[in-house]
């Protein structure tokens, strides 16, 4: 278990959205602003009593009302910006949501890199983690199996995006990626094709 992340860091940033669906393994956040979602692989945290950490695994923007499909509106507009400015209601009809895989939580002031005993509450605020937190969280990669086995569209892309992202927070990002690659190799030793795929994604950074 690692040192607790500082209290100040947890609340310094503005929330990106709220939890609208939660289980012990994943949570869905609806963004406060359309298209203002953290990118795939980003580390996020909830702002409730017990902080839960997640990695963004899927981002989607769709109609708020599942029965009302958006229709094409740009026939007389020059570009997409023009459509939004002439139809300000779109911001209320559409919403951006992202699904995160839960990879850790705080308990009694300690950071645990495994799923939380209880999911966060609905409407818990969700914050992006800044560099220092990402570096601290990725100090150990024991949670990688949670990412690799996540029931999302492409867990390998999520893992690769996460590792690429957090590597920038490390002083020697290359060394971090090599160590991370070795961790992946020991996890995916029996599936060399999958390992190769992730490594190729990592090496292009």
């Amino acid at each position: 278990m690692d040192q607790a992340l500082t209290e100040v860091n947890m609340t310094a940033d503005a929330p990106v959205g709220e939890v609208v669906e939660a289980s012990t393994t994943e949570l869905v956040t609806q963004c406060h602003e359309l298209y203002e979602s953290p990118s795939l692989g980003a580390l996020i945290k909830t702002g409730g009593e017990d902080t839960v950490y997640g990695v963004v695994a899927e981002v989607a923007t769709r109609s708020l009302d599942p029965g009302r499909r958006p229709v094409a509106m740009g026939a007389r507009e020059s570009d997409v910006e023009a459509i939004y400015s002439s139809n300000p209601q779109l911001g209320r009809l559409l919403s951006t949501e992202f699904r995160s895989v839960i990879v850790g939580h705080m308990a009694d002031g300690c950071l645990n890199r495994y799923v939380a005993p209880l999911p966060p509450k609905i409407h818990d605020m969700v914050y992006p983690c800044h560099e220092g937190e990402a570096r601290e969280f990725s100090g150990s990669l024991h949670f990688l199996p949670l990412l690799l086995s996540a029931q999302v569209g492409s867990p390998d892309d999520v893992a690769a995006a996460f590792l690429r992202g957090v590597s920038r927070s490390h002083v020697d990002s290359r060394a971090f990626l090599v160590d991370a690659g070795r961790e992946l190799a020991s996890l995916l030793g029996g599936d060399i094709h999958r390992l190769n795929g992730i490594l190729r994604r990592l090496s292009h950074d």
Partner: protein, 543 residues
Amino acid sequence: MTEPDIFGTPERLGMVVAGSLTDGVEVRLYGGASIEDVKVGTFVTLQGDRARFFGVVTDVSLRATDQALVSMPPDVSDPYIASVVSGTAAYGVIKVEPMLIQDIEGPMPSKTVPSHFATVSPASEEDIALVFGAEGERNFWIGSPLDMESKLCLNIQSLVERSNGVFGKSGTGKTFLTRLLLIGILQSNSAVNLVFDMHGEYGWEGSAEGHRKVKGLKQLFSSKVAVFSLDEESSKRRGLTPDYVVRIGFDEVEPEDIEILCGILDLSSVAADAAYSLERHYGRRKWLGEFLNLEGRESLFDLADAISVNGNALARLHNRLSRLKRFGFMDEKGHSSVDRILEYLDRGMHVVLEFGRYGSNLAAYILVANLLTRRIYARYMERKERASGDPSIEPRPLVITIEEAHKYLTSDIASHTIFGTIAREMRKYNVTLMLVDQRPGDIDEEVMSQLGTRITCLLDSEKDVTSVLAGAPGGRKLRSVLSRLESKQQALVFGHAVPMPVVIETRTYGTPESYRELGWKDAVELKAQMERDAADLFGSGEA
């Protein structure tokens, strides 16, 4: 991040992951340890939960966690992928034979294996000293372990207690090793040497690569070594005066001495047996002289009738034995060379018998070596029995060095020869053998099995390798070690004089520094030493 251990350090090679006592343990190399740096024969330590083991690397292999990696290798042209995959999905495994376990009383033969995940490291200098002992009177520095500088020692006392073998293809450094062993024995005072020096390599000087000459025992230890010669002319040609010129009389030859020559002289057993009939007919000391003086086929056939042996066989024996007349060191009358050799040996002198030009004549070598050894051995037996356990009057332990043993210690005649007897009886009569040979596969199995310590340079014939390793603990696994030795200055040592098999780089011999390390002093040093000794003895001039 993963534990730093997994990536290894220069001090840690890997961890035990599987294995058994009979097959040795498998060690998975840490990612940071390159398999290319691990050689078979390397001495390693295995730190288990409670005990420390010492072992030898016997095999090195490459493994992959997924067989797909073998058929579809990852893109290693990408340095990132290469550095990640090597040591993890594709990794090295070494096979280690645990030989010893660290006990309170010191290293003991291992009867178990280290537990799972025991850490394996290359042996340190302290480990070498702990296992093989530090250099001293009893421990002779013979070389260093592979890729190490530390001194690896042989226990000379244990070495001379049993017969030994130095094996290796020609040109692999047998002679250098033997010379070092002889020096070790000489310096330890644990035995005296009698060397049947076929090619004149041990006495005054020997040859090294590129026609370079290296000092022999006499040059290094002149007061302790006597050079005897069978061929005075050859010694004189080299400007040397032998301490004694050995001559052998026909009256000293016994039928047993002829029996060992059967193969070399192409004699049938009937012909060899005829020698015994001749001895009965003419008497013990006269038979050969009288027999060789016979001339003409008729007289031979008359004799054959008289002693009831086959005439043709006798004629053949006569024909073959007539060759002995051509040996310049043989004449009618005895010269008690044996007494002279024994006299030197009793004084603690080491005797090197140089064969000069007769070195290339195998019949001469075998005849003389066998004849002298038989008599010396008989004397030793007699004295040892007379001493009946009183160590103060026991004869000094004697090590007889013989070369080309495969030509007369073959399984069909080994049992008849004195060398076979000595090898079998071991130290019973304080005489042991040092066999120096290139074809151990042809040496009698029983003789080989009795060798206490075997020091073997590179051998590539299957038969030779099998024969040398027969009976060695873990012999099957040492096979790969033995066949991978370098062709120069490397040897595998195992048996009585070392606690565990080990590959050594033979110590350098032939440079002024190497002579000095062996205790040799050049003229200036010697003079200074003499002056110091004189001052100690008589007081300095001013006093």
